[in-house]
């Protein structure tokens, strides 16, 4: 009797897919494993992490039939090249980029059937910066505190993906028939990007002139722009140094250090901060900023302060 014969059906199903692997030939400028992160641990100093563009990430998983929280790859500014040991459907979403299989351009990268051994290459995006690669069945990676997300601030989670990294792949899932013309997520398209925000929690520490300047300025995303946050450049606000004890912060917080040039927090932001937060991007527009590249112009527009109330 073989060992496999005494395993439960579930265990043998897992065993059957155990040799399905993804091998990274080139990781480009920066590639990491992400899932939806580790929310709920901020009170222990643990950032939530997760994809910089959550809509792009969850879309990739949905396209290949995975639950939204399945680990997938986030690559920044393209350059990722992978092969699979088994044929699988894969999805490429987020920042639109040229995709080739064995050098042949793919016309519709949102859903690709990738043969075993074929080289899938993601080039430099035409717009935005973060492209997602999901494999039907998901990639298998170490989970730390319940999540396979690499957190660039604290180093929690799986090691950064490099050339030569080999990741297991879970059992293939049925791929749903999603109309691919609907399968896109917004990314900045060059020109000026508009992000909505809510005032607060510390906007009342700023002068009326500073609050006006925040919304009137055409900010630029500086080169200091990563998964932790994006520093904006422009005529600085005059807030200067404020005596504020560290307090909890959220993704999308527009924090203003004494230099007066705002920093917008992204996925790997620290859980507390001591600089005043003048406003917070809407959840939807956090994804948009997660796609911003240095030099992009950003306009900040106040969102309606409350959702419209229905009449009783």
């Amino acid at each position: 009797m073989t060992a496999a014969a005494v395993e439960s059906p579930r265990a043998s199903a897992r065993h059957a897919g155990a040799d399905a692997r993804l091998t990274v030939a080139d990781a480009g400028m920066g590639t990491s494993v992400q899932d939806l992160g580790r929310p709920g641990l901020a009170h222990l100093g643990v950032p939530a992490a997760g994809p910089a563009d959550r809509r792009g990430f969850t879309l990739a998983n949905r396209l290949v039939g995975n639950p939204e929280n399945t680990p997938a790859l986030e690559t920044t500014l393209g350059g990722l090249v992978v092969t699979l040991s088994r044929s699988r459907y894969v999805a490429v979403t987020g920042a639109p980029a040229p995709v080739t299989v064995d050098g042949v351009p793919v016309s519709e990268p949102a859903l690709v059937h990738l043969p075993a051994g074929a080289r899938l290459a993601i080039g430099r995006p035409w717009a935005g910066c973060r492209t997602y690669l999901a494999v039907s069945g998901g990639v298998e990676a170490e989970r730390v505190l319940g999540s396979a997300s690499r957190d660039s601030l604290t180093g929690l989670g799986p090691e950064p993906v490099r050339a030569g990294t080999v990741l297991g792949i879970g059992p293939a899932r049925p791929v749903p028939a999603v109309p691919l013309e609907l399968a896109f997520s917004p990314v900045p398209g060059g020109g000026s990007m508009t992000a909505r925000f809510r005032w607060g929690p510390r906007h009342d520490l700023f002068s009326a002139a500073d609050r006006h300047r925040l919304t009137a300025t055409a900010w630029r995303v500086s080169a200091q722009c990563d998964r932790v946050g994006a520093r904006l450049t422009g005529p600085p606000l005059s807030i200067g140094s404020v005596d504020l004890a560290s307090e909890g912060t959220v993704r999308g917080a527009i924090q203003v250090p004494p230099s007066g040039e705002p920093i917008v927090f992204l996925s790997d932001h620290p859980v507390t901060g001591g600089y005043p937060v003048i406003g917070v991007l809407t959840d939807a527009d956090c994804d948009l900023l997660g796609q911003a590249v240095p030099g992009d112009e950003l306009r900040l527009v106040p969102a309606p302060s409350a959702t419209p109330r229905r009449s009783p």
């Binding site: 901020a42 100093g45 005032w199 607060g200 909890g248 959220v250 620290p270 507390t272 959840d283």
Partner: protein, 241 residues
């Protein structure tokens, strides 16, 4: 204006003299304030209330299931709701809790009694002599002051497992190092301002290193990963070097 005064209006406070919350609510300047923090967040500016106790009181509520994060800090508690939770309803619930005086002095005994965690320390840190000199005492006296004080876990921040411990005695209070060290290993006991910390490991650090402990207070493979919780009392005990 997004700020919403949370405590009962002063008229309500004066018409309810029997309420234990009334003295706290009476001083308008001490009223906690709810500040909007994005689509899903409220930041509670605690004023006279204690963030650690308030966070505990929030977590004990049945509706806390709708919350993704409850993050007490030095003077605030950040509450982040799960997608789909009603933010106006959450604000009303938080205001009701604040009106009850949760987190106030009158409710000090309401939460579970805080635990006491004893941490053995070898007082042999590279900054011990400099701290002693600036405090005008001997290195042994630094250790004595540090071990005799009662420290309390105020909040976590900066890095996973980085617990800010309040209660550093006055003579030992110093500003941070002018130049932080690039990487501080786990178990280093350090002080700055009115606080102490046991470094969780792998972070830079600008605090004065006075000793080390072999006790693991933060372990990502443990469940839960933290041995300290907000509100716990910490006693440092000197061990021979």
């Amino acid at each position: 204006m997004t700020d919403i005064s949370t405590a009962a209006a002063s008229t309500a406070a004066t018409t309810a003299p029997a309420s234990p919350a009334a003295p706290a609510a009476a001083a308008a300047a001490d009223r906690a304030v709810l500040r909007r923090a994005g689509d899903r967040g409220w930041l509670i500016d605690c004023r006279a209330l204690r963030p650690a106790q308030l966070a505990t009181a929030i977590r004990e509520r049945r509706w806390a299931r709708e919350l993704r994060e409850v993050v007490p800090a030095a003077r605030t508690v950040l509450v982040v709701a799960e997608d789909g939770a009603g933010m106006d309803r959450l604000a009303a619930r938080l205001r009701a809790l604040l009106d009850e005086g949760a987190g106030g002095p009158g409710r000090a005994g309401s939460a579970a009694a805080p635990r006491t965690v004893v941490i053995p320390v070898r007082y042999d840190g590279p900054d011990l002599a400099a701290v002693a000199e600036r405090a005008g005492v001997s290195p042994e006296e630094v250790a004595r002051l540090h071990t005799e004080a009662e420290h309390t876990v105020a909040f976590f921040g900066f890095a996973p497992g980085f617990a800010y411990l309040d209660g550093l005695p006055e003579p030992l209070r110093l500003p941070r190092l002018t130049s932080p060290r690039a990487r501080v290993p786990a178990g280093v006991v350090a002080i700055a301002g009115n606080q102490s910390v046991v470094y969780p490991g792998g972070t830079p650090g600008g605090w004065h290193q006075i000793g080390t402990t072999t006790t693991r207070l933060w372990d990502v493979t443990a469940e839960p990963p933290n041995r300290l919780s907000v509100g716990d009392r910490v006693v440092f005990r000197a061990v021979g070097s």
